[in-house]
Amino acid sequence: MRLLDAATSIKVKLGALVAVSVVVVALLATLGTAAGVPVWLTLPVAVALTLGVTQLLAAGMVAPLRSMTEVAQRMARGDYSGRVRTTSSDEVGRLAGVFNQMAGDLALVEAERRDLIATVSHELRTPLAAMIAVLENLADGVVPADAPHLHGALAQAERLRQLVTDLLELSRLEAGVTRLQPGEIPVRALVTECIAEVSSAGRTGEFDLAIDDTLIARVDEARLRQLLINILDNAARHAPTGSPVHVAAARTPTGWWLTVADRGPGVAADDRERVFQRFGTDVAGGGTGLGLAVARWVAQLHGGTLRFIDPAPDQPGALLRLELPDLTDPPTPSEVTTVTAPTPPTVAPPPSGPPPSGPEAYVPLASGVPAPPLGMDSVFGSFWPERPGLAGLRVVVACALVGVLAGATMTFTAPGLSWVLVLCGAGCAAYLTARHRRSAFTIACTALASLLVLPLMLLDATGIALLGVFAAAGVFLIGVTDARTPAGFLLAGISWPLSSLRGLPWFGRALRVVGTGGRTPAVVRTVVVSLIALGVFGALFASADALFATWIDALVPSLSFNDLVTRIFVGCLVFAVTLAAAYLALNPSRVEPDRRPVDALGNRFEWLIPVLLVDAVFGLFLIAQATAVFGDHDYVEDTTGLTYADYVHQGFGQLTVATLLTLFVVWAAARKVKDAPADHVWMRVSLGLLCVLTLIVVGSALHRMNLYQEAYGFTTLRVTVDVFEGWLGVVVLLVMVVGGLGHGRRLPRLALVTGAVAVLGLAAINPDAWVAGRNIDRYEANGTLDIYYLQSLSADAAPVIAKRLPADAAACALRHLPDNQLSDDHDEALGWNLGRSRAEGALSGLDMDGVQATAVSPRAPQVDPCGSIIDAYAAGPEG
């Protein structure tokens, strides 16, 4: 039973779904605003909750349709046993009900058809066997070809003819709709005619009529004749020789009746319905087993009945009674009465042996067609198929635990120990579910990723730490999806957010397991129920009893309402993000589809000329560089009007872009080269030259940056850019070496690993401290120092500054630290960070109170003790 099953219209359900979603979002937004939760946190949680609500409410809407598709496909294959299970009562539910009924009817019709064919073939075999027996004996001269034997063969042929006629008649009657053409018929005359016909067909027997000449019935004459012949023939066959068959008929207020009585063996009460079934009668007497079935059909078509009734005690035998109403509609020449055929009579069970039909007997009519994908499967198609039997609940539970950990420890805590713990936990949860977890590449990526999150704990510099986290996420995702190409890397990154959609059905199934039996679900239920009970009763008693409340306070960290809301939001967000990563690891998208090989260019010049042109441009550029380097600064100033420092600064960005583009050119050209020795030589020469030139460009760019840093001082950003450019140089070198050796396919992964190592290296040199050190080196060389810039550095730089600058300058450079980075006094253990704890050690040796901008007296203007010191350092020794 699902939540919305009671709704009788799908519109109501959709309305309820929209309403509930809107209410949820509105409540969440209000709650978030009241608790001061930022929008970027509220929005994803609201989306996730809405999706959850949809999953909960909409599941029952679509499930019957899917089930119907499946059952219909099975029916197309000839299996009619499938039924749609649904508890919903809307239009879809009703459709499912009708569908089930249809499936049942079809199954019945199919079974009847099979029974009929088996029975008919059986009934045809016996006269055929007899006829063949007679004819073969005649042909072989076993019996003489005299009249009795020929008549015997003829009689068998006659039996066959009668059987075929009856079958045709029956199939015509059962075709569904039969037109009746009523007319005024004198009953006695019709019965007399029929008796004549029966007698002429070879039945010897007397008939005794008790029918008034004036009895006129309104019936379809042809049909009634058919009926009468069948029942009269049946009676004549069963009547003992010498005893007449009594036929009586009379009018009733609404119609008329007719009885046929014979003195034969009669019909046992138990058999009175069976004999009207096809082949339900004993055929030994010479009938076809179909006559009574036909007769009853005609009676039912007229809206009447035909049945055996109890004979009078003094007149044993069979008493067959026909009751027909007058057909009411007066016949007009153009009009005919259409009567829908009643339910066809069922086939009598075969006289012996097991039933011919059975589950093993059916033959598939059509070969199985693969089920078309539904839902998310159709959205993501072959890019992201879902394998059956994915582990569910334990993954969700692991991710939920990570979410709880995040909510409890990460919220209100500066980046430090707890962040690393949460990230490692999330990584663990995702890695342990990963499909490729045993592949060396995935293991290496996971190891790199776990190293890359460490700066969060070791450095106070947020920028570097975040760079590390992004790199870690990227490397990890590429690892779990087993990507190999740059396109694959990109798809792996895109797959993470998409995973929150792709994984929804899986998530729904995992949660549905909680409602079923089994050990893990039971544990989950117990934990959830216990926590709710603990929370509700704890809160109730805490508000009721002061002593109890103080105990609670001692146990539970102080939680204001707003804090709690924020913690829950953070927990939910981390849970969702972790779950998305875990799903991606569990069921990786196909980021490396089978790409068709690129067609090589037909002519060599098509790729060679552009590459050589690029080579030439690079060469020209380097000549200009050489002039600038080997000429003096004046030449540059004279020619360009720029100072040398400006000149070098201007080019750095463009050179970096040029390096990136060169990598692209090499990649594109290498794909388009024909697989011929001469082409390979040309490729190695032209692209090798390009790489060498690019390396010189990289060197030149680094040289420019170095000059610039010497002129304007070092910053963390400049160091980072240096590392990036250096990494590009390494990649170009790798392209030359690895590509030259013919292992081009490994390049993307090598570039990835070297990039990750470069980020690690950047973090390892502790850039803020390094930059501070280099700036102090510069100060020691030329006497100027930008203390304002030092102030903007993170706590990482504090030990270097405190050690190498005079105490007053150091105190001024570090004076904002106690208010900013080092102000987190709560949750010290959770927020532990190596950079900050070293900074605290460094500050303890300095007089920090002396550098705070404080007013000496309330009326005096504020005096900044650092102002003069900073100015003095900035001016340098000359000033």
């Binding site: 088996a118 073939s121 059986h122 075999r125 016996t126 055929l128 066997a129 007899a130 006829m131 063949i132 027996a133 007679v134 073969e136 004996n137 072989d140 076993v142 019996v143 015997g152 009689a155 068998q156 030994a284 075969p350 006289p351 012996s352 042996g353 097991p354 011919p356």
Partner: protein
């Protein structure tokens, strides 16, 4: 061959008469029966060499007649059935029928099958008196042509005469694939003339029945060729 008695049990008078005429013309002595009870009574009374038996009979059906006749005295039975149903045929073979024919059938085929059945009885009698009567032991299975008994482990397996002959034939050359044609010739005594689709289906049906009794893993099917007896590995 001539002079042997055949009991024809068939409720359709025309068919019964024509069978009788034909068999008399072939030189058999024929007794006619038209229902189950009289068939059993006549079988006891006349002791036919072979019984021609329709499945659908008034009184009780052909299977029951077959069971009762066989319980009294092993006699070859040729079943006539109007139903070409594998299950139906297996039931017939299960109650001790040796062969079956589906309606409509050819008189000549009936005669040929009856002759083959009688020939086989002679051969069995011959075998029973011949020297090669030592029990055949294959793993846990023991087939004793002398006493016409089969055991697997300690359990005795009850086989119809045809099934037993089939098993002996297979067991004399364990592991060898015997073609359907050879089995037909050795077990049923059919010559080349009788070979057709119906005949090979006879072999298949009997092998299927035999498999049900001794266990499916004893007999290996070689598709398109025939069958071989294999001692199961486990």
């Amino acid at each position: 061959m001539s002079g042997q008695r055949v009991l024809v049990v068939e409720d359709d008078r025309v068919i019964n008469d024509q069978l009788t005429e034909r068999l008399r013309a072939e030189g058999y002595l024929v007794t006619q029966a038209f229902d189950g009870p009289s068939a059993v009574a006549l079988a006891t009374e006349t002791g036919p060499a072979v019984v021609l038996l329709d499945v659908m009979l008034p009184g009780f059906d052909g299977h029951e007649v077959c069971r009762r006749i066989q319980a009294e005295r092993p006699v070859p039975v040729l079943m006539l059935t109007a139903r070409d149903d594998e299950a139906d045929i297996l039931v017939g073979l299960g109650v001790g029928a040796d062969d079956y024919l589906t309606k409509p059938f050819r008189m000549r085929e009936v005669v040929a099958r009856i002759a083959a059945l009688l020939r086989r009885v002679d051969r069995a009698a011959e075998l029973a008196t011949s020297t090669d009567r030592s029990p055949l032991v294959l793993g846990v299975m023991c087939v004793d042509p002398g006493r016409r008994r089969t055991t697997i482990g300690d359990a005795e397996v009850h086989l119809t005469p045809t099934e037993f002959d089939l098993l002996v034939c297979l067991a004399r050359e364990p592991g060898q694939v015997l073609t359907r044609e050879r089995l037909l010739a050795e077990v049923w005594g059919w010559g080349e003339a009788a070979l057709n689709g119906v005949a090979t289906r006879t072999v298949d049906s009997h092998v299927k029945a035999l498999r049900q009794k001794v266990g499916a893993d004893w007999i290996r099917t070689v598709h398109g060729v025939g069958y071989a007896l294999e001692v199961p590995t486990s």
